[in-house]
Symmetry: C2
Subunit: 318 residues, 2 copies
């Protein structure tokens, strides 16, 4: 049972945060529009688990990634980029399939990503993953690896082992039908995972995709009814509503300048995880996660050059 005014006790372990899941190339058009004369695209390092792990490292805790990429030039590119960011890559599995990719053609309307799922969902639960997991204090994943098998099987075993070894589980219930395997009720599956984890951070859109429309209070109640232990419902410019069931608190946004929202959610997670590892209370960690997210919003890119958590804490007068 979480209490917002208290810290989370962690055992002494060799690693702080292990993130599990999609590592992929974002291939983004240089110009707007589908019919533009320019056919130029640029590849970017992508995938929320790695972004969170890199951020957490910059903020000042130890992090590790477990993902699957192809044995191909794009897989090598992603591994090189992780190494350049100072990350160990022993948790990256190179598998016999193409490195996953998301193609985004910028448009004046909402750009619709095109998903090329391949290597990312071939992630296997192997000895290296089990060891990394047992020796971590927190494990984190999103809906990507559970949206398809065999990576779903790997995550199910991650959850079992994490429970057994007292590893805190954070889950991003970012359900979207476009990444789900065809012919399956993804909503029901995501709902079945929620009671098995410790902390979830849905957005209002995630909640609506899972439950249909509702007020923030109604959505929180629905997550709690499923068995969620700590729900962080993000509300964009309206901050966040957080509840343990016994306690519910509102958090105002700290964003003052919004250059680019890409990666703002990952920045929140990394700030929040860093803070709970560093012994801040949940309330303080929520403020600090929010501050890291506000810091990231001032810059363009999914992963920006974050300073140590203490610097951000000072900048935001926390």
């Amino acid at each position: 049972m979480f209490k917002l005014g208290e810290t989370i006790p962690f055992e002494d372990k060799a690693n702080d945060v292990l993130t599990v899941g999609e590592l992929l190339v974002d291939m983004i058009s240089n110009e707007y529009g589908e019919d533009t004369v320019s056919d130029g695209y640029t590849r970017y390092f992508g995938g929320s688990p790695s972004n969170i792990a890199i951020n957490a490292g910059k903020l000042g805790i130890r992090s590790h990634v477990a993902s699957a990429v192809g044995r191909d030039s794009l897989g090598n590119y992603l591994i090189n980029r992780l190494q350049s960011a100072g990350m160990a890559t022993s948790g990256i599995q190179q598998v016999d399939d193409s490195t996953s990719m998301v193609v985004i053609t910028k448009s004046q309307a909402t750009p619709v990503p095109i998903f090329y799922r391949a290597a990312d969902y071939r992630l296997e639960y192997n000895e290296a993953l089990e060891q990394a997991l047992i020796h971590s204090r927190i494990v984190h994943f999103s809906c990507w690896p559970i949206s398809r098998t065999p990576s779903r099987r790997a995550v199910e075993r991650v959850i079992q082992t994490a429970r057994k070894h007292k590893v805190l589980i954070g889950f991003d219930p970012n359900y979207h039908p476009s990444i789900w395997q065809k012919g399956e009720d993804g909503v029901a599956y995501v709902k079945s995972i929620i009671p098995k984890v410790d902390i979830i951070k849905p957005s209002e859109d995630d909640a609506e995709r899972l439950f249909g429309p509702g007020t923030p209070e109604e959505q929180i109640a629905r997550f709690l009814a499923l068995g969620a232990k700590l729900v962080i419902l993000t509300l964009g410019k309206d901050g966040a509503l957080v509840s343990t069931g016994n306690e519910t608190m509102s958090f105002a946004t700290k964003a003052t300048q919004i250059e680019d929202t890409t990666g703002a959610g990952d920045a929140f997670w990394s700030g929040f995880y860093t803070a709970i590892i560093k012994g801040y209370t949940l309330t303080e960690a929520l403020e600090l996660g929010s501050a890291v997210s506000a810091y990231k919003l001032k810059f363009t890119g999914a992963v920006v050059d974050l300073p140590a958590l203490a610097v951000i804490k000072q900048q935001f007068n926390l």
Copy 2:
């Protein structure tokens, strides 16, 4: 039974060549090397069936394409490009999957393409495809659509209908394990298709992948033993060896200047098809196909600005 000195009689039909199969985006890096600082890529219109159809149109016969792309920005891009090339797009099926893509990162060694197969193999045998087929004199396909289901089922029905309606069948046996569905013996399947078609044009590499090593004469004999009716075995700078079983002829290459080999095989097919439609004998058509290929080799790109076949015939003194 083909005779090299004779023409192929065709019924009067509304279309000359129908090409069936992969229509996809080639995403090619702007710079060489995997670790380059530049992460720029450029998208290109790709897929041999469309290249052959566009070429054939330029050379002076009527052509039509049947392919499947996604309902997404890249699918729209490919359709727009076909329209810009003056092609009808009524045979393009937009399906509920991502537009297929091949990513090529240029390297000093042989660049290894990364395949993202999705919409292309969702091609269905529908009423529009059947009508286009019945009203064509020639139908052409490669190993791509037969390498996976459901497009394989579509091609199997194309073959049946073509036989019934006296449509000449050209098949490119460009077998490669990297495009084949996992866990299946693609070699055996390709061999089972060869006796059901009229004309095949394997390269030496294709032959070796299907049969193992051998001299050109041995490879020709192996194709004939499977039931092939007309084998055009291309030998790169050594031209081609052609056989009907009863007659065998060597053809020297006509290439004098090689800027870029991309699309040279498609240029051959389009020149050959244009010539047999225009009433040239098989021997003449093989010379003309070879001339169109040599013309293409002087320019960069998979589809170059070909003149009418008569102009190429004159340029090459045929």
